[in-house]
């Protein structure tokens, strides 16, 4: 049963990611990315990280992608022009090279031992994450608050019409 779920949502994630590349209009790419994020969130649930799965939907699919969709809506972009790019041959070389790399990676990872999602003692519960986040990882946590402040200021400064 878990295997059916895994294959379905893995195929959905890969299909949505490929759709991000294939679509000409960037709004459809953004919507496919939202689909991929929710599919990955379900994979997190299969790995018993349920708090992280919900946080991924709230933060990534519900806030960051809203930002992307807003900007695309406001800029009112046309479909991508297919112009006289010097690098048109890029996709015909890149994709075979990518597939070759993929074959390398798959043959290395195929026989990694151990299965995921079988641990009974670790469940990514909020209590466990909170415990670790506020004791062992307190310094990075405080530094990320500084990071967000800087990003906030940077975004406001860059998007202003006249400083």
């Amino acid at each position: 049963m878990i295997q059916i779920l895994f294959f379905f949502f893995a195929a959905l994630a890969v299909g949505a990611a490929i759709n991000v590349l294939v679509q000409k209009h960037v709004m459809y790419s953004a919507l496919s990315l939202i689909l991929m994020l929710t599919a990955v969130s379900v994979l997190f649930i299969l790995l018993k990280a349920d708090f992280l799965a919900v946080i991924q939907v709230i933060v990534y699919a519900g806030a960051i992608m809203v930002l992307f969709v807003f900007v695309i809506m406001l800029l009112n972009l046309p479909e991508d022009e297919d112009g006289a790019d010097r690098l048109r041959w890029l996709k015909f070389v890149g994709i075979p090279l990518g597939l070759f790399f993929l074959v390398l990676v798959v043959t290395t990872l195929w026989n990694v031992e151990g299965s995921a999602g079988t641990q009974q003692q670790i469940v990514g519960s909020p209590a466990a994450i909170g415990q670790s986040l506020f004791t062992d990882f307190l310094l990075p946590f405080e530094v990320t608050s500084l990071l967000i402040l800087i990003a906030l200021m940077g975004a406001v400064v860059f998007a202003k019409k006249d400083l």
């Binding site: 919900v54 939907v57 699919a61 809506m73």
Partner: protein, 337 residues
């Protein structure tokens, strides 16, 4: 897997889903009747009275009208997104009823992160509005959609932060346990509801919930006088009905969350014979949710609209600092005691 599908547990789950879903859809339809009647009475006129006694068959007449109306899709709109937007708005609104406890055993599923699940699903509902406005390819819907989704994501912050105080007291994210933690009483009379422990959070939650569901006084993005009809200008018949259903479902969801977190959910005085005792928690829950819905409709009928910049300023500069201060104070008190 086949033995699970035929087990009694699955059948009970299906019955629960049918009961809750059917009840919710019926309630949404009659919420529109309640709203029209109440607004009419506040404005000293009778409201719908022709269709059935007291106008009680009006929602059915409205539903039939929506089914038979012509479905207009503007020529220059983005057809796929135009048709998808009401669905993207309605599905998250209905999905949040799967974790709400209507009674001690009348909850479809008690997720360990149930409260966050509802917030996650609500934040996905923003896309229905944004895409609906953008796909209509017209200026009023686009403006309405941008304003409305900016308002929703701004008030989501204070909505989520205002309940952190309750979570610190109850130490759990699952809704069933939140309700169970409020079951006893102090001194035998005063129930152990979180409203007595977190009054500021309750006020912040209520105001954020009104803004989050785009209701008056925060509905500048869909008001008739300002923006024709906001993001659902170009929609007709069933798609418009789906947007309306989604809005009412959001109202019921935030009312249900308010009762669960601050007013004890289905807890209440138990009395009477055994059969009555089984139904009484659900009755208390529905009574409390109805009080909140009543309050929402009354507010729509009485309060004037707030301008958009005042709205955004209020959300970011007033509600967000208050909810953060509430978290700090509550964490001090919880840490000390």
């Amino acid at each position: 897997m086949i033995e699970y599908l035929t087990s009694s547990e699955f059948v009970v789950l299906m019955i629960k889903i049918l009961v809750i879903f059917g009840g919710v859809m019926g309630a949404l339809a009659y919420l529109s009747w309640l709203e029209r009647k109440m607004m009419a009475r506040v404005q000293m006129r009778p409201g719908p009275t022709r269709v059935g006694p007291f106008g009680l068959l009006q929602p059915i007449a409205d539903g039939l009208k929506f089914l038979f109306k012509e479905d207009v899709i503007p020529t220059h709109s983005n057809k796929f997104l135009f048709i998808a937007a009401p669905v993207v708005s309605l599905v998250p609104a209905l999905l949040s009823f799967s974790v709400i406890p209507f009674g001690p055993s009348l909850q479809i599923t008690d997720l360990s992160v149930g409260l966050l699940f509802i917030f996650a699903i609500t934040s996905l509902g923003v896309y229905g509005i944004a895409l609906g406005g953008w796909a209509s390819n017209s200026k009023y819907p686009l403006m309405g959609a941008i304003r409305s989704s900016a308002q929703m994501i701004s008030y989501e912050l204070s909505l989520t932060l205002s309940v952190v105080g309750v979570l610190m007291i109850a130490n759990t994210l699952s809704l069933g346990e939140l309700v169970a933690a409020q079951q006893n009483t102090w001194l035998g009379i005063i129930p152990r509801w979180n409203i007595f422990l977190q009054p500021v959070a309750f006020v912040v939650y209520l105001i954020s919930a009104v803004a989050e569901t785009n209701r008056l006084p925060f509905d500048l993005a869909e008001s008739e006088q300002e923006l024709v009809a906001g993001w659902h200008t170009e929609y007709s018949s069933m798609k418009f009905a789906m947007f309306m259903l989604a809005e009412y479902a959001n109202i019921v969801t935030v009312s249900a969350l308010a009762t669960i977190m601050f007013f004890g959910g289905w807890t209440g005085p138990m009395f009477g014979p055994e059969l009555l005792r089984m139904a009484l928690p659900t009755v208390w829950f529905l009574l409390k949710v109805s009080i909140f819905i009543f309050f929402y409709v009354l507010m729509r009928a009485t309060v004037p609209r707030i301008r958009y910049d005042q709205l955004m300023r209020f959300g970011w500069k007033v509600l967000l600092p208050i909810s953060l201060a509430n978290i700090v104070v509550t964490s001090f008190i919880v840490a000390i005691s």
